[in-house]
């Protein structure tokens, strides 16, 4: 996505700070998959995969993959002590019942009121929503990790999304390489600026007003 691994890890590390003891957390692909590497050892967190795993662990070593133990993206994982398997209906039951405390995912755009657009590029890519709508709509906290701007340098944090929405008014927190925004009833609040970026740079590269 144009971000070096160091920057991606910084974003992931900041996201990891949002995770509290005992939480159930669903991670999307991309930067979110780096989050577990940044968790302190004394935190008990259960990672949830919507195909039916609670308690995902790190990736297996090469050659130790189990074809019957994969995450929702189809890639091999392991499980931790206390893990369980369930069918997909129950897995999404956890999400809709509000038992998944947090989902950390990537996005194409986020609007100032927390609209999420991360699933479709009309005329280009229509992959289907998978489990994204349910996660966005029903996870107790939705955190978006993404580049601050797209490949053309255009802001991805915008007044109104130009792409079709995955879910409206669902995002709680946005973490980019430049900083951290909270979505509130009064719009966006810039909470943190990451060095070496300046307030002015953030302002220039953000497509909507925000408080600070």
């Amino acid at each position: 996505m144009g971000l070096g691994i160091d920057v991606r890890n910084r974003i992931a590390k900041r996201a990891a700070e949002e995770i509290k003891n005992g939480m159930v957390v669903n991670l999307g692909i991309g930067i979110p998959s780096l989050v577990p590497n940044h968790l302190p050892d004394d935190i008990n967190v259960m990672f949830h995969a919507e195909n039916g795993i609670t308690g995902m662990g790190p990736s297996p070593k090469k050659g130790e993959e189990d074809e019957n133990l994969c995450n929702a993206g189809g890639f091999p994982v392991t499980v931790v002590s206390g893990a369980s398997y369930c069918d997909s209906a129950i897995s999404f039951g956890m999400i809709r019942r509000g038992r998944v405390d947090m989902t950390i995912l990537g996005s194409l755009e986020v609007s100032e009121n927390g609209d999420l657009a991360n699933w479709i590029v009309p005329g280009k890519k229509v992959p289907g929503m998978g489990g994204a709508m349910e996660l966005a709509q029903k996870a107790k906290k939705v955190i978006v990790l993404m580049n601050h701007v797209d490949k053309q340098g255009k802001p991805k944090i915008v007044k109104e999304c130009s792409l079709p929405l995955t879910s409206a008014r669902c995002v709680d927190l946005i973490i980019t390489e430049m900083g951290v925004f909270e979505v509130t009833n009064n719009g966006l609040h810039l909470k943190e600026i990451f060095p070496p970026y300046s307030f002015e740079e953030i302002k220039t590269n953000t497509g909507c007003d925000f408080h600070w």
Binding site: G22, M46, T54, S84, Y85, I90, G93, R97, G98, V100
Partner: protein, 230 residues
């Protein structure tokens, strides 16, 4: 036993979650698989004006029947009350409101609440006033159905054989019955368990209720009623 998730609590601590006028969903079928220690705790605490949701009213001195017989409930949603004549008498006397739901539909309504759906569409008992009375109907692909609303409650109380500290549960034989469904339906879920084992002691494949749904685990003092067949 390690308690890394702070879910393992005493029956006294569990009782802090209950108060008059609340809705309790209970696991069990004819008393089997109902949590005896929690039920006794509720009796002792004296909570009243309860709305109960579960398969049946047990027997007068078995399962949830003990709470019903003591007049602690003002309403129950169940599939039958036949094995508890006290419940029938309270209903006749106007002291207990009873909403009957066909057994499997009741189970699905509790499950629907547990997995965050709004309702299910059923064709059971459509011509029966006791089932269909006052319910919305809907035509789907040319066939008519009743709209059976999802059920949730303030607290779910369930009974399991084993739990680990995360609240992963396995059940014993037919004492499973409605428990895995009820486990999902409460805003708070309290599991009474016969045995607590270490994390990692339950095989991930054999866990019936993932601990995600379980807020608290209470060790059982065992069944303290005499079964109807004894």
């Amino acid at each position: 036993m390690e308690n890394a998730f702070n879910k393992i609590i005493t029956i006294e601590q569990a009782m802090e979650n209950f108060h008059d006028g609340m809705t309790i969903i209970f696991g069990g079928f004819g008393g089997i698989g109902s949590p005896p220690t929690i039920i006794d705790g509720l009796l002792e605490k004296g909570v009243k004006e309860l709305t109960l949701i579960g398969n049946d009213t047990g027997f007068p001195h078995i399962g949830i029947g003990k709470i019903v017989s003591e007049g602690r409930a003002v309403k129950i949603i169940a599939s039958h009350i036949g094995s508890n004549p006290v419940a029938g008498q309270l209903m006749t006397d106007g002291k207990l409101e009873v909403e009957f739901s066909p057994q499997g539909i009741l189970a699905e309504r509790i499950r629907a609440g547990g997995v965050g759906l709004g309702a299910i569409l059923s064709d059971i008992g459509m011509d029966n006033e006791m089932v269909a009375g006052g319910k919305q109907r809907m035509l789907v692909e040319g066939k008519e159905y009743l709209v059976e609303t999802a059920l949730t409650g303030d607290v779910s109380i369930i009974f399991a054989k084993k739990a680990d500290p995360y609240g992963n549960l396995i059940y014993d034989k037919s004492a499973r019955n409605t428990n895995p469904l009820v486990a999902m339906a409460g805003n708070i879920t309290i599991a009474e368990v016969e045995e607590i084992v270490s994390l990692g002691n339950l095989k991930p494949d054999e866990i019936t209720t993932p601990g995600v749904f379980v807020d608290y685990i209470v060790p059982s003092k065992g069944v303290n009623w005499t079964w109807a067949w004894e």
